[in-house]
Amino acid sequence: MKLRYFAWVRERIGKPEEEVDPPAGVATIADLVTWLSQRGEEYARAFENPRVIRAAIDRAHVRSDAAISGAREIAFFPPMTGG
């Protein structure tokens, strides 16, 4: 699946997007954040406060308990400041 990162999440991880293949046990957005945090310092830093991270699956907002199976694109970003 494709992951996309925005704003300071993107800056801390160091890239705007990547393809990942998480193992079967990674079932929800929260699981995915935990799994990503273990991939390296930059990920740990980006996700150090998971409560502040927002997610979207296939371009729609989801909560942290949303299931990720079947997702084509998952995005992580800070609270929005549009408008």
Binding site: F6, W8, R51, R59, M80, G82
Partner: protein
């Protein structure tokens, strides 16, 4: 019902967009035009520039969802939302919301509803440039709790998702 949703770098013409919603119609009795503008200061410090990052594919879809919600909720005769992205200078327009209805209550309420949701759910992120000690600091603007509270007004508390 005519609904325009556009994302663009370029400035927009608010008067022209509003005029399109009323042109040739005798049923429009109220047009509300809201323009959000880049101010020249943030928390007391002079702002040199503001850059709006966005999630292109999601932003249009998300704004369109809110436009559809506004249409279901109020008897509107036209809506236009234009949101800019990229690097803006103080004084430049950021966002336009225009609503047209037979009566003013609906036009005002729908415009406020759309702005409250744009502030909290549209995937844009503002980064401002302020003068530091002999350098320019780039700071990500933090989302405001007051914006979340304003957006929550439109949903009865019994139907709001539980806080995370």
């Amino acid at each position: 019902m005519a609904a325009t949703v556009r994302l663009q770098r370029e400035p927009f013409d608010a008067a022209s967009e509003a005029e399109k919603l009323r042109r040739g119609r005798s049923d429009v009795g109220a047009v509300v035009t809201f323009t959000g503008i880049c101010r020249g200061d943030e928390a007391g410090a002079p702002l040199l520039a503001m850059t709006l990052e966005h999630y292109p594919d999601m932003a249009e879809a998300e704004i369109a969802r809110h436009v559809a919600a506004a249409e279901r909720r109020w008897p509107l005769l036209g809506i236009a939302v234009i949101h800019r992205y990229g690097r803006l200078q103080p004084g430049e327009d950021i966002v336009l919301v225009v609503t047209a209805a037979a009566h003013r209550q609906d036009a005002f309420a729908a415009a406020e509803f759309l702005m409250d949701y744009l502030k909290t759910r549209a995937p844009f992120w503002k980064q401002i440039e302020v003068a530091g000690d002999g350098r320019t600091d780039k700071i990500w603007v933090k989302a405001k709790r007051s914006d979340d509270a304003l957006a929550d007004r439109w949903t009865p508390s019994s139907r709001r998702p539980a806080a995370e």
